[in-house]
Point group: C2
Amino acid sequence: MARTRLVVIGADAAGMSAASQARKRLGPDELEIVAFERGRATSYSACGIPYWIGGAVASEDQLIARTPEQHRAAGIDLRMRTEVVGIDLGARTVTARSLEDGREVVEPYDALMYATGSVPMRPQAEGFDAPGVYGVQVLDDGEDLIRELDSGRVERVVVVGGGYIGLELAEACQVRGLDVTVVNRSQTPIGTFDPDIGHFIADAVKNMGISLVFGHAATRVEVGPDGRACAVHTEDGQRLPADLVILGLGVRPNVALAEAAGIPLGASGGIAVDNRMRTQADGVWAAGDCVESWHRLSGQRMVVALGTHANKQGRVAGINLGGGYATFPGVIGTAVTKVCDLEVARTGLSEQEAETAGFCFVTASVDSTTRAGYFPGAKPIRVKLIAEKRSGLLLGAQIAGREGAAKRIDVLATAIWNSMSVDEVLGLDLSYAPPFAPVWDPVLIAARKAFEAVEADVRADARAQ
Amino acid sequence: MARTRLVVIGADAAGMSAASQARKRLGPDELEIVAFERGRATSYSACGIPYWIGGAVASEDQLIARTPEQHRAAGIDLRMRTEVVGIDLGARTVTARSLEDGREVVEPYDALMYATGSVPMRPQAEGFDAPGVYGVQVLDDGEDLIRELDSGRVERVVVVGGGYIGLELAEACQVRGLDVTVVNRSQTPIGTFDPDIGHFIADAVKNMGISLVFGHAATRVEVGPDGRACAVHTEDGQRLPADLVILGLGVRPNVALAEAAGIPLGASGGIAVDNRMRTQADGVWAAGDCVESWHRLSGQRMVVALGTHANKQGRVAGINLGGGYATFPGVIGTAVTKVCDLEVARTGLSEQEAETAGFCFVTASVDSTTRAGYFPGAKPIRVKLIAEKRSGLLLGAQIAGREGAAKRIDVLATAIWNSMSVDEVLGLDLSYAPPFAPVWDPVLIAARKAFEAVEADVRADARAQ
């Protein structure tokens, strides 16, 4: 049998998970693997960059799960600092350009793995592309930002956007002793949380000493006489002086190369893939932040940029590329973050998302403690559940609390994954001992209250008829 | 409609959950509720007693969720320090004796709620009923033990049995500065854990400075000239001097009264109940540590003494008693405990239990961290999974680790509850951010490894044919 050739574009989580899985199943005699990476690191944790900037992680080395040398030792022909600038689907070739010397090579492929990740959202408005405006996505961005912050000339930082990354970067700068302001279009940060949970997040940010300018979008970045960003302006006319501007508006899939080549995108803007991570272009596979995923509750296709999905999708693609069989079963929007000592997490649909998806629902929120109330170290936890009217099907969950609170979201994610009703959740045999939970775990109390809300709603409907 | 009369025997978790739920649905005009309690407290956390003894919980008041006065204010006729000594199923009466003055009354009932809890296992061997041998089950036991420990004449404590309660009490005594020895029949403590996880527990106990005498059962308690226990003897001939002996052999359902009355027990020794918590005696309901539950994986009936089940079962009984409809859906053996700073948890079947239930299975264990490896405060965690051969059905899970490890068992409990295969678990959308998990949560890594073990086993079978 002739040796086939797999070309991988992008050597981070998705690309190298795919390459490694394919290599595990097919040796160098059967499969040649060539991987192109624009940056200078492979298989690193982009999610860890804010903690590196804030100093909780000492060096970038700690963020790297697998080095180029380790990948090469596994028989992967890795071309670092080399950017793929074109794909010819008909000829089955890619054109790659060295970022060192500009030289281009054309490389044939039998199978192509597209794993280019995402790029920070950058408003089209004035000044957002000026020097001194930073988006943080890859390791080099982190290094650039740290160099800026270490220079001593930055005192005031304005973060545009109060999403996950925006808040993580705001906290990192605040920890470094800087004067930080976060500008956010909505009244509460991280728009995938309902406002009642979002308020906890806003309070936690404020309590850290970070200024919040909420409810008004940033309209432009003012550029100073030195050509660098010097202030952010908001739609209500505020001028926020800044020595440095950080973009925290989220990311969008990095699909320019795919679009140019004619690899079809989905309606969400990510690359359309099937359950095995095949694109609609023959021989081309894709995974990670650049693809769209299927939401198991709403049925919608959406882009979710998250390292854990990138790793799983890469693994799935790699197993299939290696001749095996695996599928990626979709997402339900689980996410977690920490803001100072506040832990927040969500899964399933928010109220807004549930409405958009056409569900009628009831909600229930409970305040409890992470351990038995009498046990030392018990911390507050609020659990909010969203349950479908009548059926009681669990549609969504959000948690805000202190240490030990947020990871409970995984129980609710597993319940949603299995289409459980809140009544069924209430029956779950969850672990109990005073150092770990009240005798009714907060998750169960919330399920009980949500079930009561479903029943009350049924009774109200019956009375109304 | 005539007012009906509910009599409750035992005013702790199960009994008072039932009474409260029934009261919520039926007012005093419709339902009269009389509750008898032998002790001097209602609705308290028996699980919290070891922490009260150890000093982490300052006073018994903190363990009481609801006082007699609160229950009375809700319209429950509560008779404290009154023991039910007989039930006449034909006449539908109970005979109750005051522990203050010995007077007996005969009270009629329409419905009877039997919630007498459990009693500590006490070997029939010599000396185990001597003064100075303590079982800890109710609040009064805790008070007695604290009085003994405060007396200053106790230096050496021997705990007989290394189950959950035995280890919690051993730690409580050790924290108080006493010389503690635990005697356990098996080589590893808490027999519901597989030995490979049990070794972590044994090490944690040892590291606290507690002596372990494992692999040999205690055969008798030696009684000193003062008539009190003074040493424990083991089957390999050791004599362990003791100023105080604590029983940690677990509990058995407190069913003497039910047996005498002719309320049928199940094969497990607990009271047989249906899904609505009805016993086989007309008009008699039961809940809590005294009943047997259905294990959803093995199909066996078993007694599980745990506050969380008692509360849920009491709620179910009370809803039904109040004219509503609710069922208790069974258990899957989820449990968690803390030994010094080691957290251990389990759910589903152990290897031994899976064998007994007739399953063939593979196992997989992984060592990971509770947070991203590079994130400050990341702690070790071991996850062990037991999966059915071929189907990959998740049969059981055990976790041992440090802070943040054990509560992850609830994800696996929810997965088992929903009959997920390890392959399906691997697809779960669990929360990820560096402060909360590695990019592959330890639960997912374990599922991946278990799935690989299932596949390897299938291949080995194919080759063998």
